[in-house]
Amino acid sequence: MSLPAPSSVIRGRTWVWPDDVNTDIIIPFRFKARTNDPVEMAKYAMYGFDPEFYKKVKPGDLFVAGRNFGGGSSREQAPVAIKYSGVAAVVAESFARIFYRNSFAIGLPALEVPGITKQVKLFDEISVSLQDWTVTTKDGKVYHALKVPDFLRGLMREGGLVEYYKKHKSFPWERLEATASTT
């Protein structure tokens, strides 16, 4: 059931969302509370804006959103629904705290780029480099995303906590702790 780890450069068309898109818009409680299957969750992705969204989204599409994307609930089903609907990465002006953590934990690329919504329109072709941690818009301009600790980017590149643990038999922050105690 797990999807492949994200590739280092992702090109796709964009869906553009406003500020304060909360988790209940991304997937309402009454749907997410009734299933443990990510493919089923994906049918309710962005339901609060468009119950038919899952029919319209294409594999490899990208999200560009305003401030505070994913605010509210701790529900990991929100980034899971987005990821399994086919969306390859989310670029936002800012993310809500738990949504951001969850995105790395499940291997959904989440890049914070202040001002990005002014540079992108619906269905623009843009690219996201997970190698350089940048976003390149339709006109070729390159925007750097806010820095993220290496261990988190590594976690995301490997596809999230399940894949990481299966491979390393440890969690990325355990290595961090080993470093911390020797410095």
Binding site: S2, D20, N22, D24, I25, P28, F29, R30, K32, A33, R34, T35, N36, Y47, G48, R67, N68, G71, G72, S73, S74, R75, E76, Q77, V80, S94, A96, R97, I98, R101, N102, A105, I106, P149, F151, G160, L161, V162, Y165, K166, F171, P172, W173, E174, L176, E177, A180, S181
Partner: protein, 425 residues
């Protein structure tokens, strides 16, 4: 070394507790740094637990790190309103049996932990955003998702970024009809839905000391609606009394240093607050209860982890006593825990609710999350004491949710429209 950190004048609450507890203790961590924090307690509920269990099994981990520190709580949809949810509850019960972890059914997790388990100075991670409620008694308490919960079950630790802190000085005294909920609603109106994102809120000032533990829990809980990581009331005599009565001891009493650095400071004079109402989803503006005219209410909901404590039900029952809920409006009262439920029955509050024409339910998150016991239909309008007014939160996407205190909710139930509680007190 720990004592030096605890006495350091320049550190916030968050910096102190993380410094003392992280990476074996003893290294000062400032805001912005990453640390690895061992948990004293981990909680997941019935809408995040099943996914955490699934992830835990996919990781291939056999045993949890410490069964006594792990709590599963069936509260969001209790008792199960349908077969799909019932099956996810079975998954939880099987996992509990297999791993020997703790299980509670039919009390809201945050209230259950506050009444029975969490103590000052503890590190609590919960797979529920409103876990930050336990900051009310001086605990490090914050929300995470299901995969991180599974990783925590496996290893007992998680990474944290040391948050910047905001200081809110509370002064003055409430006017009649104004309560803790009005403080936090007012604050969110001031700073916006992401005004506290990634931050630790420290509630200070003379008026903070006058607030009961239940009132502090309301504020810490609802602080999530501005995105916070922590929402802290430091231990003071009121906290010490609470734990003496409960026969539990603090792990650590942590006080922010007087020269600690805050990202921002705010002053709120409680005497200037009105019964505050936070309007629905996309028109989310905070105004006083008197400013809504004749907005008809189909439903009034009194309950949830934010405002379903005994203190809240007491205020609501005082207002409803001798009155009837307006025909055409339904009023649902849902306590936050079994303990509150039993007390409300023994002490006559439940009788008052029933006499007024309200429905009195078991403890659950049901109505707040739109699964059962108060779901809204197309275009219905609700005034609720629950934490969130999001589109579709309590049912239909076209329904509207106004948020207010239990007092405002009770007065509004009597009038069938948004009303100030003052005249009923």
């Amino acid at each position: 070394m720990s004592q030096t950190i605890l006495n350091d004048d320049s550190l916030t609450f968050a910096e102190k507790i993380i410094s003392v507890k992280a990476d074996g203790g003893g290294k000062v961590h400032h805001a912005g740094e990453i640390a690895v924090l061992p948990a004293d307690m981990a909680m997941a509920q019935d809408s995040t637990g099943p996914l955490a269990i699934k992830v835990f099994r996919e990781m291939g981990v056999q045993k949890v790190w410490d069964p006594k520190k792990i709590h599963l709580v069936i509260d969001h949809s209790f008792p199960a309103p349908d077969e799909k949810i019932a099956n996810l509850h079975i998954l939880i019960r099987e996992f509990v049996k297999q791993q020997g972890v703790r299980l509670v059914e039919g009390s809201i997790s945050h209230q259950h932990l506050l009444e029975n388990h969490v103590v000052p100075g503890m590190v609590l991670f919960g797979a529920d955003s409103h876990t930050c409620q336990a900051g009310a008694i001086g605990a490090f308490a914050t929300g995470i998702g299901s995969s991180e919960m599974a990783a925590l079950w496996a290893s007992g630790k998680l990474w944290v970024r040391v948050p910047e802190s905001l200081k809110i000085n509370l002064i003055g005294q409430f006017k009649k009809g104004v309560y803790a909920r009005d403080v936090i609603t007012h604050f969110i109106g001031m700073v916006g839905e992401d005004g506290g994102n990634y931050k630790s809120l420290e509630w200070k000032g003379p008026a903070a000391k006058n607030l009961s533990i239940a009132s502090r829990a309301c504020i810490s809980n609802n602080s999530m609606e501005c995105g916070c990581k922590l929402s802290i009331f430091e231990v003071d005599p009121a906290t010490q009394d609470y734990f003496k009565t409960a026969n539990r001891k603090a792990m650590l009493e942590i006080h922010a240093g007087p020269k600690a650095k805050y990202k921002d400071e705010y002053d709120i004079d409680l005497g200037t607050l009105e019964p505050e109402v936070w309007g629905p989803g996309n028109e989310s503006k905070v105004r006083s209860a008197g400013e809504f005219g004749d907005t008809h209410l189909d439903e009034v909901f009194i309950g949830s982890s934010t405002n379903g404590r005994y203190e809240d039900l007491m205020v609501a029952s005082k207002i409803l006593k001798g009155h009837k809920v307006k025909p055409g409006t339904r009023c649902i009262v849902t306590p936050a825990s079994r303990n509150v439920f039993e007390r409300a029955i023994k002490e006559g509050l439940a009788e008052t609710f029933l006499e007024s024409g309200a429905v009195f339910t078991n403890a659950t998150c049901g109505a707040c999350v739109g699964t059962h016991l108060g779901v809204l239909g197309e275009n219905e309008v609700c005034l609720s004491t629950s934490p969130r007014n999001y589109v579709g939160r309590m049912g239909a996407s076209t329904a509207k949710i106004y948020l207010a205190s239990p007092a405002t909710a009770a007065a509004s139930a009597i009038e069938g429209k948004i009303a100030s509680p003052g005249r009923y007190l």
